[in-house]
């Protein structure tokens, strides 16, 4: 117990680091994933190809390799940013591929007749999209987006190994001070559980409010 009390500030800093990383990377992943999903369902061939390549490559890239390439590679092109920004970039781009696929399959669950009915009522493309298709797609993607973001929070642990202030990375400092290593990890685990459980509770709420009644 006293491991937590004595090192509260270290843990708190790490916890906030993980939280920040998760929030910013989630936002980036959602935005990029939405853009890529709209590319993948676009009637324009070259955009579709770009979206497909993006998803296929990123989905099959080991995240460690991506971190390795982004955090150590981009500075060689003269792009020098804080490590945390690089970590958000890597994590966000990686997760955007999964978000894209979730959103795309959500759009594909909307029956074709819905769009046809909307158009035959004289709705424009924007109206069809915002009033008919997206609301229905949104309902069915809540649970899978939630589990994708939980995976993102868990994957953020890799950033700690690339000298970003983050929860898992705190074990080094505390270990050097000579505290019990098992308890150190127990509190790290609790920190991650708090974050993942919070995300899953949030998405339960969203689903309760907007989810599909099956």
């Amino acid at each position: 117990m006293y491991v937590l009390k004595d090192n509260w500030s270290t843990y708190w800093e790490g916890f906030l680091g993980t939280l920040e990383l998760t929030v910013w990377a989630s936002l980036l992943a959602l935005v990029l994933g939405f853009v890529m999903a709209s590319f993948r369902v676009a009637p324009v061939g070259s955009l579709r190809v770009f979206g497909t390549v993006w998803v296929t490559v990123l989905r099959n890239t080991p995240l460690t390799l991506l971190f390795f390439a982004v955090l150590l590679g981009l500075p060689r092109f003269g792009l020098v940013l804080p490590f945390q920004v690089f970590a958000v970039l890597a994590l966000g781009c990686y997760t955007s591929a999964f978000i894209c696929e979730v959103l795309r399959s959500g759009i594909n669950t909307v029956p074709k007749g819905q769009g046809e009915a909307a158009r035959s009522l004289g709705m424009s493309f924007g109206q069809t999209l915002s009033l008919v298709v997206l609301p229905q797609a949104f309902r069915s993607v809540i649970p899978p987006v939630g589990s994708t973001l939980i995976a993102l929070a868990k994957n953020s642990a890799i950033a700690g190994a690339f000298s970003v202030t983050e929860l898992l990375g705190t074990y080094k400092t505390i270990n050097e001070l000579g505290y019990n290593i098992v308890w150190t990890f127990v509190w790290i685990a609790v920190g991650y559980l708090i974050i993942t459980l919070a995300i899953s509770a949030l998405f339960h709420l969203l689903e309760r409010k907007w989810g599909v009644a099956r």
């Binding site: 460690t64 759009i107 769009g115 990890f185 459980l197």
Partner: protein, 292 residues
């Protein structure tokens, strides 16, 4: 392609012309982007002879191959062990005995909720294990738990009539499981199982962080060599396609199995999962087959 979505009508001649214009425009933009990246690479001198020289040496080729071998070794061990653990935990979760079921549930839920890297570091730092042991043990615990959940949802996705018919024929629970439910469940879930193995293959690169001498580690050794003018970008350009290619091959195999099993008459009583996006998700929910 796009007529499967509710978004667009079938385009008429004018719309088709407009789409072609958009297509050309965006292709030009993308090509300019690509050219800019190439220019950056050339401008910072990534294609000089000094930087690519190391790949000609046999010692360095051997170093890379040894790294690749170590990656594949960790993957093979983790795959076999996590399949075994997954089977065991799935059996536990489907048990008729409540304590067994609870114990298996606790184990599965705990290891699925933990970041796999925390587990690997715990085994490596706190239990002072060898890097290979720590990596394989961490991957096994995590992927085993996910596979247990995949297999369990496979068994539950088999049509109820199959189970009832088997019980009505006087089979015991073990017989029902072994002869009726599990064969169908495994067939239906094979794509998801292979997709989870892709995750395991990707995660072997975490061994890099605990100094296991795998592929990325070999790359790092070469990249930090001053004699060759720090060939970091060339190393990434060599390593990344190999890594990504291996994972793509396995993903493609999962998709192939999925299409094959969907056509097979032996999976009529159960829904075959597609080797889709969720299935490849590290740490996400296991792909559950839709209830029939």
């Amino acid at each position: 392609m796009t007529d499967s979505t509710a978004l667009y009508d079938l385009p008429g001649p004018r719309t088709r012309r407009r789409h072609t214009r958009y297509g050309v425009l965006s292709a030009v933009v993308l090509l300019v982007l690509l050219a800019w990246i190439l220019y950056l690479l050339l401008d910072t001198g990534q294609f000089t002879h000094t930087k690519w020289m190391p790949f000609e040496y046999q010692g360095i080729q051997k170093l890379l191959l040894r790294g690749l071998g170590n990656t594949l070794k960790a993957f093979a061990l983790a795959a076999v062990l996590s399949l075994a653990l997954g089977g065991l935990l799935a059996t536990g979760r489907l048990s008729d005995h409540r304590p067994v079921r609870w114990a298996a549930t606790v184990v599965v839920e705990f290891f699925r909720a933990m970041p796999v890297l925390v587990m690997i570091f715990f085994i490596f730092v706190a239990l002072k294990a060898q890097p290979l042991t720590a990596l394989v043990a961490g991957l096994t615990l995590y992927n085993g738990s996910v596979l247990a959940e995949v297999l369990r949802s496979g068994v539950r996705a088999v049509e109820r009539g199959q189970r009832e018919a088997a019980f009505a024929l006087g089979m015991r629970k073990t017989q029902v499981m072994a002869h009726v439910l599990v064969p169908q469940a495994v067939r239906a879930m094979l794509p998801a199982v292979i997709s989870q193995l892709v995750v395991a293959l990707k995660d072997t690169s975490l061994g890099f962080l605990i100094t296991y001498e795998e592929f990325l580690h070999a790359g790092k050794l070469i990249a930090s060599n001053l004699d060759y003018d720090l060939p970091f970008i060339p190393v990434v350009m060599v390593i990344a396609p190999i890594y990504i290619g291996m994972c793509m091959l396995l993903s493609w195999f999962a998709g192939w199995v999925s299409r094959r099993e969907q056509r097979s008459p032996r999976t009529d009583a159960v829904t075959v999962v597609t080797a889709g996006p969720g299935a490849l998700l590290p740490g996400g929910e296991p792909p559950t087959a839709p209830r029939p």
